[in-house]
Every structure is written in structure tokens, then in C-alpha cells.
């Protein structure tokens, strides 16, 4: 089976119901994408599949055939992702940081889709991403900052 991750193609010989998460982490050695619940409940494992945020713990590799997987490791390849990462650093969003891979990917997907999100848009896009350390308020501020820096909110 062929998997395209961050623009690179990988040939893998795995059961087709194997989740993308464990394929990335344990087979391809890409550990940026995190495990938090395994049941699509926490968002730690969020990656983009053809630009749409998905929970990789609950998405089998068969669903990624012919599609592009983008992980946190490649978020900086586009302008929106960079703006998100910069805003995250500038506002000191992370505490332990473990959920932040998923937060950064979800926020990047949001902002690509919607350059000027309202509070309600942010709630909708981000409430699937749990942060046990409680960085939500800074995440909200950072999304708004990134939107401004990226020419969204004026």
C-alpha cells in the first residue's frame, strides 16, 4: 500500500485497517503526531487528509489511499501553518505541549479554510482538541493573532 505523507511517498505492508496514527508513529518513525485517547475524543492525533483535519487514531490507512497526509512536522511548509506556529510561540501557548501538535494542525486547517474566524468558529473547530493543561484561552488568542498576521482579521 502507498501512503503519501508530507509530500513523500511510502510503501507499507500493513493491515489496511491499521490506523494512520500508529503507522506514522511506530512504522514510519514520525512521532510529532500524538496518541491521547485512540477513540477520536481528544484530537491529539489530528493530521490533515487532503487539507481536512481528521483524527488519525480512528482513520485507517486504507482511507488515505490516493490522498495527501500532512502532519505537524510539515505544517510550517505553508504560510498559514507558519503564522499559527509563530503566534503559538509568541504568546507562549504551550504548557506541557503534548496536545499542541493536534492543536496546531486543527488551527492551521481552520485558518486555511476561514482566514477570519469568529469565536464561535474557533469553538467549533477546536473543541475536539483537549488540552488538559488548560491553554484554551491562549489558543484562541493565538488563532486571532495568526489571522491578523496572515492578513485575515483587520
Amino acid at each position: 500500500m502507498k501512503l503519501s505523507v508530507n509530500g513523500e511517498s511510502h510503501e507499507v505492508n500493513l493491515p489496511e485497517d491499521m490506523p494512520i496514527l500508529w503507522t506514522l508513529r511506530d512504522v514510519l518513525g514520525m512521532t510529532g503526531t500524538k496518541f491521547g485517547c485512540g477513540k477520536a475524543l481528544c484530537g491529539a492525533c489530528t493530521v490533515m487528509l487532503d487539507g481536512q483535519p481528521i483524527r488519525s487514531c480512528s482513520t485507517p490507512i486504507s482511507a488515505a489511499q490516493g490522498k495527501q497526509i500532512t502532519t505537524v512536522e510539515a505544517v510550517s511548509k505553508d504560510k498559514v501553518g507558519q503564522a499559527i506556529q509563530q503566534a503559538w510561540v509568541e504568546l507562549g501557548v504551550p504548557q506541557c505541549g503534548y496536545c499542541q501538535s493536534g492543536q496546531v494542525v486543527s488551527a492551521t486547517a481552520l485558518l486555511r479554510d476561514n482566514p477570519n474566524p469568529s469565536d464561535a468558529d474557533i469553538d467549533n473547530a477546536m473543541s475536539g482538541n483537549i488540552c488538559r493543561c488548560g491553554t484554551y484561552n491562549r489558543i484562541r488568542d493565538a488563532i486571532k493573532l495568526a489571522a491578523t498576521n496572515n492578513g485575515g482579521a483587520q
Partner: protein
Amino acid sequence: MNTSLKNESLQTEITNISRRNLLKGFALTGFVLAVGMPFSGFAEDEEAPKYGRDAMPHGWVDNPLIFVAIAEDGSVTIVSHRSEMGQGVRTSLPMVVADELEADWEKVKVIQAPGDEERYGNQDTDGSRSVRHFFMPMRNVGAAARMMLEAAAAAHWGVGVDEVFAENHQIKHRPSGKVLGYGELAKAAAALDVPERETLRLKNPDQFRYIGKQSTKLIDGEDIVTGKAIYGIDVQVDGMVHAVIARPPVYGGKVKSFDDSEALKVPGVIKVVLLKGSPPPAVFNPLGGVAVIAENTWAAMQGREKLKIEWDHGENASYNTDEYRQKMLEAASSSGGKVLRSSGDVAKALETADKTYKADYYIPHLSQAPMEPPVATARIQNGKCEVWAPTQAPQASKDTVAKWLEMSPEDVTIHVTLLGGGFGRKSKPDYLVEAALLSRAMQGRAVQVTWSREDDIHNGYLHTVSIEHLEAAVNADGKATAWLHRTVAPSISSTFDASSVHQMPIELGMGVMNIPFAIDNVQIENPEAKAHTRIGWFRSVANIPRAFAIQSFIAEMAHDLDRDHKAFLLELIGPARKINPVELNDEWNYGESPEKYPLDTGRLRRVVEAVCEKANWGRDLPAGRGLGLATHYSFVSYTAAIVEVEVSEDGELTIPRMDIAVDCGPQVNPERIRSQMEGACIMGVSLATVGEISFKDGAVEQDNFDSYQVTRMNESPREIHVHLLPADDFNTPLGGVGEPGLPPIAPAICNAIFAATGKRIRNLPIRYQLES
């Protein structure tokens, strides 16, 4: 360059390096540890009682040769010996060193110490102690290194050391304007003697460049947002295999029999291993069970689902939290429990009072549920064991793994990774032992044990379950005359002694003994409570139920007496005075000296007044909204919170705003203090509104974040305002930061709900209680 730290193989850098380097260690060049043992700061007088950092196992170390290395290119490497779990310690303590060293933060790298307390001093990252205990030792480290660089430069120029000074990564010669960079001086400086502690020239606080400032960038920030940061679950070791374990669902249970034939058929499964259980007390021992080892975590999980296991559940199989709560209520309602503190005559005061109050407050078990579940990787080679893990307790990990492998602790190395949250769960090294035992079962091959979220929730070291029973009396003027508190909760001590039914000093010193109220008749009792699950530390620990009960109760009294809550609270706290905790029978005082750290009611009053002013206490609000106030003293810091809630007609709760004021003494890294307070506010919302672990037939009823809920972005307070109250100066003793923000949140929320709706919540979580 042929110089390197002798222990380079023990140093593990946890970010910014390739996998291979993670295992090879990190060669430090520059400062060389020549000979001799680190000088540690133990007091000379062995007889005198020890407090604070002096009283911790292995004390503290302030030798710059242990903590700092400077390379020829000028890069400064600082060792973080405390674990990073989101509190920012890998930034805050190295930042203290860098400040005294006059180092440029952009040129600072931080590496993580392995578990080795003889070398680094105490490493137990808990109790809100890291900065409180290591601010001074780390200042010493930086100052000593700076003075060695100054001395090296003075020798090089052949001038007096009083003619040179350090500034921004350079030593300058004042009269001539000559300059040498730290990299150029590193080697010569490293050859000099470390100055005696008494001769160190510390900076004046007005010279600080990072300490107390808002601007220091998080050392791991960039790595985190780019996915490069290495947590325990991200460790990869050559040849590593993956394991998950089916553990006994009931505390003290064990495997009766199992059938692994189907599990072994799952593609990728390599081996199934029976792990011996350990009967209570749990201590830090693994729970035992059946492990499935596979080529990847997913295959191991699939294999585990195919196991058929018959359990012997043991004596805790009848643990039901509903029944247990009734039992606790009964214990709380009768006198005869152990009396811990008694002044005046409470019974008589209650009997003869004009008015009395009585209430019970319940908080269920809670799971820390750090986003990164417990995980560890172990490998055994040539009679030595290496473990990579996110642990708050590196030394206890070393000792416990060594005990289980029957090795000497010197043969066990604990590499501390970043922690994806800890909150007390990762103070217990049971999961490291599991990895080590499974590596042994695989002839030393590297094994990574991952806990699923279900494992984390089913088999935790939970926050206790508690009833706090309060009674009070007031006289005809509405002044409080009596205070009775019965605290009923299984103790953390039961995790170390299965027969224990009473709370220990550290739990009693968390807001039950050390209440500072100006009331004549006070009695504090602790009826028995037996544990039926592993009880552990959870951020803020026993302060959570005490603050909830006491701060709710005071609001209830104020309301009944038609008094303003703030005014009544301040009246109870009484005038500003410094109370010696020993007079309150609090023998613990967070391990700090009772003289240096009295309970200062002036400071408690000040946080209450500050938060009321900032949040505009008493402001008019539309119908359905209310403000709630609460305060608490914990970890030798003072906090007060005001929460604004809105409750819709169908009982939906939202939180438009929270204010929290904190006085934690001098603020070393104010930016991280703010983030800790923000996080505490949200964790407080979690436990107040949705957090609950319940038991049926001995087993936890919740499984994952669907049934054990935590607060999400859409439910979190829309605004959080943190108010940091300045200390007089940097000579004021430091207070804790990681935990003190949490206790006042739940009662402030419930007091606000009462203000909004007239409904009083005495049992957490609130969950559906607001639906009419």
C-alpha cells in the same frame, strides 16, 4: 577540544537531536568536572531541624560544574534536573542560572539530567517546589560560573578581578574597554577552583535581566509547535518492540488463568507475558496482569483484545462508590473520630449558640488524565538497565526499577523525557517497572509499554474521595463562635500501608488544620476511612476538597446572615497577623520552616481584596448571572478567585469570566506563573463541572474522555484575568505556583451559581444538577 564532562553518557538531551544522539548522549565541552564530589548544601548542624530544600532527600547542589557547560563557540548548556511537565521549569530554572551568569538566552541550551539525586540534589518534581527550593541554588550556580569567567579574563589580561565585569555573554575590562567572549574563556575558567559559597557575589535584583521579567522565551516552544519535542511516548530505541498490558480491574486482584491463543494469532504480536501482581499496599509496584508484546502499539492493542483472562478480583471487589459515600456520611455525622486540634469547647458552643450551620460536601475520585498517558521504554544490556520515561520522580524510578530487577541502583539509568502532563500521576514509577520487567522477558530487548487512555482511567493512582463535614455557630451579632470540621477520606498513606485509615500530616496540613479563622472554639476531627483503590497525588491534593467545603460553607453562612460574602470572609480571617502553623497543630507546613513561612492572614486578606477590586465585586449583573468568591492558602502561597457564571433557564452553565489573584512571594518567571494560573482555572472548571471517577463492583466505571470528561474549549471560561501581587522584594520567601491556583476555583464557581440561581451545590461534579 579534548575536554568533556565525565558523565556525558548520562546526560540526555530531550529535544533538538536526532534519535541516534538521544542514545549516545550529548558531549559537553568547556567546563570540566575535575575531581571530587559536588558540594551539597546540607546544613552543618545535623541536630537542627531541617526545612525546605534542606529537608528533601539528597538536599540540593549548587556546583556550577554539575549544572553548566560552556562550549568554545560560546554556547551555554544548562542542566535541568527537575522534570518538565508544563509548569515551565526547563525555562524558569535555567533562566535563573543564565541571569546570574549574564548569559544571552539565545545562546542557552538546556539538557535534562538523568535520575541521580546524589549528583543533582532532589529531583522529585511535585509539591510546587522546583523554583521555591532551587531559586537560590541556581542563582549560586550562575554567579559562581560568572565569577570563574571573570577570574579567567582577569588572569588573561593580568589585571585585578575588580577591574572586570560580565555583561551579555562577555567579560569586559572596565579601564581599557577590552572584551573577551564566554567561549574564549570557557576552558581557562573551567580549570579554576569553584568559588566558596560565602564569597559569591549575587546580582542585585535591579540587575536581573530575565528573573521577574515577562520576556523569556520557552526553551521548548519551537520544538513543541513543530512536533520535534520528545516526550516519553516518542522515544525510539533500536530494535524496540511495543507492549500493552491487561491489568487487574480491581485493586489487589490478580490473574486466575488466561488463554492467549487468539492473541498470538494477531499479525505483529510477538509474545504474551504473565506479569506477577503485587498485593496491596500498592506503593510504586506494577499491578501485574497479562502483557502483549508486538511489533507496533496497534498490534499489541489488537492482541490484548483477544486475550481471555479470568481474574481473581480479591477483597476490593465490593467497592461501590455510591455505598461508600453513605458510609463516609455516617462517619462524618458522628463524633468519636480522631481529634486533631481542639481549642475552647466546640460542643458547648454549638449547643448554646444563637444559630448553627451544618453541611457535608462531597468530591468524588478524580483521575489526573495527563494528555500523554503513562509510558516507558526499557532496555537491559550487559547487566545494566536503561529506562526512558516521562517521570516526575527520577530517583524513585531508579530505586524502584532496581529493586524489581534485583540490580544495584547504579546499574539503572533513568533518562527523563518531556512529560505530556503529570499532575501527580507520573510521580509513581509503576509503569517504568513494567517496561523493565518486559525488557527482561524479552532478553533485554528494548520494550516500550504504552498505557491506553482506558488503562490510565481504569488503573490510576486516583485523587481520593471525600466528605468534608462542617458545623459552625454564630452569636446574636452574627459573629462566628464555633467551627467543627470532620474530614473523611481514604488517605494517600494507604498506598504505602494498607492498614492505614487516617490521613497523614501532609494531607491534614492542606487546609484543614491550618485554617486561620479568628474563632474561639475550633475542633478538627478525622474519622476512619479505608481505601479500596490506589490513592495518589493529584495537583493540589487534599486542598481541593477543603477549599470547596470551607469556601462554600462560608458563603452559605454569609447568605443566611444577610452579610456581604467578602465582608464576612474578611471578618472570619480576622486582622492581619502571622500565625505559627505549629500553634494550629500543623506539623507539616509544606515542609517549610514555621518561622520563615508563617500563615500570614495579612497576605490572605490582600489577595481577597485585590481580586474583589479587579473583578469589581458587587457589580450589577443581568438576570441569570452571578459572581462567586473563594480564597485558599496552599503550598505557602495565597490565592483568591472570583468567577462570573451564567445559567440559562434550562440549566446550561457558561463562564464568561474568571479573575484569580495570587501572592506567591517573589515572581521568578511571571509569564509561566500566569500560564499556571490559567491552567489551574480550567482544571478547576473540569473538576467542578464534569470530573468524576466512580466504582462499581471494585472497578472504575469510566473508560475514556467520553465518560471521564474534561473541560473543552467551548466550555472553558471566555476570559481569565490573572492578577499577580508583587512581593516586597526578592528576600521574601518564595511560594509554590503549580498547585495553589486550583483549590479556590470549584467553590468560586459554586458560589457564583448560587448567586445566579439560588441553587447550592454541595456535591461535585455539578453536571446535571442545574437542570430543573
